[in-house]
């Protein structure tokens, strides 16, 4: 369904994403993990059109979408959430989602948009009351609203960006189950970007690990979790360099 080949993004002299290729099959949940600054969000922004790739191709359903304007990509069937929720505070919760339902589905009719809004709000467990203000939502509620907005655009592929940051453990489990429900019930393919490995590993079919803009591992969650390169990125080198730095500091202080 999605085929990414040789994707590169440079900001001046800095290469944020370096020659990344991957595939996503219809109906799967692909986890995308990596430390801060590894290029996950940059990849997302290129898939959703917020950033144009420096080079490389993105085929979605057989069509090249690299470099298209965001609204075109959304209309072609890719929905996204933002890492930090970006609700429209001038609109009610319902209007936020109805907006996405209207413009995300090629501006058909208001009735259809409002229907999509009701369905999406119910799916994520937010009230479908038309007058509820966004200001009443907490961190978990805002993340649900992000998801509802993305769902209202009727995506075939959902890009969920670190949707669990800032939630407690129960909320995290709930959110992870919700993503799985979305896939199971609506048949939406999902790419899920996340810092937190634990919950993600439980839900995803496949994992891809990024470090410094490059793909370092890909496969089943169990295999990836045991990959020495992944362990090194997440735990190893950090601990070693910290120890080395501490030893160096001690040596200098002594001498």
């Amino acid at each position: 369904m999605l085929e990414v080949n040789g994707l590169v993004k440079r900001f001046g002299g800095f290469t944020a994403v370096n020659n990344v290729s991957f595939k996503v099959d219809e109906g799967e949940i692909l986890g995308l993990i990596g430390p801060n600054g590894s290029g996950k969000s940059t990849i997302f922004n290129m898939l959703s059109g917020t950033l144009a790739p420096t080079s490389g191709s993105i085929l979605f359903g057989g069509h090249e979408i690299a470099g298209l304007a965001p609204h075109r990509i959304i209309n072609s069937g890719i929905g996204r959430t933002f890492q930090i929720p970006r609700p429209f505070r001038r609109l009610t919760i319902f209007e936020n989602v109805a907006l996405a339902g209207f413009y995300g589905q090629g501006r058909h009719s208001r009735a259809r948009a409002e229907e999509a809004a009701e369905r999406s709000l119910a799916m994520v467990g937010l009230p479908t009351d038309r007058h509820a203000s966004v200001d009443g939502l907490g961190a978990a509620g805002l993340k649900k609203l992000e998801l509802a907005k993305a769902l209202a655009t009727a995506p075939k592929l959902l890009l969920a960006d670190e949707s669990l940051g800032g939630l407690d453990e129960a909320e995290m489990d709930q959110a992870a189950d919700m993503l799985r429900n979305i896939r199971d019930e609506l048949g939406i393919t999902i790419i899920w970007v996340e810092h937190i490995m634990g919950v993600l590993m439980r839900v995803v079919d496949r994992v891809m690990v990024l470090d410094h803009g490059e793909k370092i591992s890909e496969g089943l969650p169990s295999a990836v979790a045991g990959d020495p390169r992944v362990i090194e990125v997440y735990l190893g080198t950090d601990a070693e360099t910290t120890q080395a730095a501490a030893a160096e500091a001690r040596r200098r202080a002594g001498g």
Binding site: S48, F82, R86, A98, Y103
Partner: protein, 339 residues
Amino acid sequence: MIGQGRLAAWGIGLAALVALPFVYRDPYHLHILVLILIWSFAYTSWSMMGRFGLVSLGHGGFMGIGAYVTALLWNHLGLSPWIGIPISMVAAGALALIVGYPCFRFRITGHYFVLVTLALSGIVLQVITATRDYTGGSLGYTPNRTSGNKLLALQFDDKTTWYLIALGIWLFGIVVWHWVDRSMARYALEAISEDEDAAAAAGVDVTAEKLKITLLSALMTALAGAIYCQYQMFITPDTVSGIAVSLQMVFAAIVGGLFVSLGPTVGAIITILLAEALRIGFGTKAVGWDNLVYGVLLVLFIIFLPKGILGSLLDRLKPQRKVPRAHEQEVVQIARPGT
């Protein structure tokens, strides 16, 4: 949704406004009312985009184009305003697109957008002044009086006729305001004014939506300029164009209330009564004083009454009518810190 009561109130109010010139015929007062209605329409046109954070100081330019193009076509080519006005509107619309497209495409927003539009206003004023062989420059310009069909020339001596025309135009502006307010485009524009990337991620074509509202606003403003010219039969660059006119639009819309349909109308009543009071009270000594008062009032309003007179009044009267939108609440919190 408009309730039964509000619809009835609108109906009664409109009937009273239509009946007024047949009952009350004082020409000076009717003249003031016509001015208020025409400027209300101009301010409403400005607020169409101003309410979405698209603050334009270029609308004096659109108004000037509406007035001058219509008058020039009439005097030089003998083209009836019925054709001249649409042409002037198309000219203003084309200019709006030429200025708007690069701004929106390349994300020139906020203060930078204001500066671009300010330049637009200045350029139109300069062009009118510089082509004085055709436009009369800063001395002003008068459409030729017709000796033939008055309807064809859109020239009427009768104040009642003008009052009814102005009332119709004003009502048209209010209807368009409500039409936009109830459309999905309002959701999109509110979203864009907050966060363009997030709006695009909801599927909104940000550039197109901003262009559409700018075009609509410019077309209406040009119409206001043309109607003003036909009514006054005398225009100068300073009264229909330039930065002073643009600033007056901003002032009136904010003072009256940006987020309610009749806000700009209230703003027009205040600005025109103020200008008239100064003119009558102080005569030629007070020329330009109104702009000074506008400036001071604008500062005071932005600080203390950001929703404008009508917006604040409606909130006070019917606090339960609707949940204030979040950005309106924010403004209130700024006004009352610590609550």
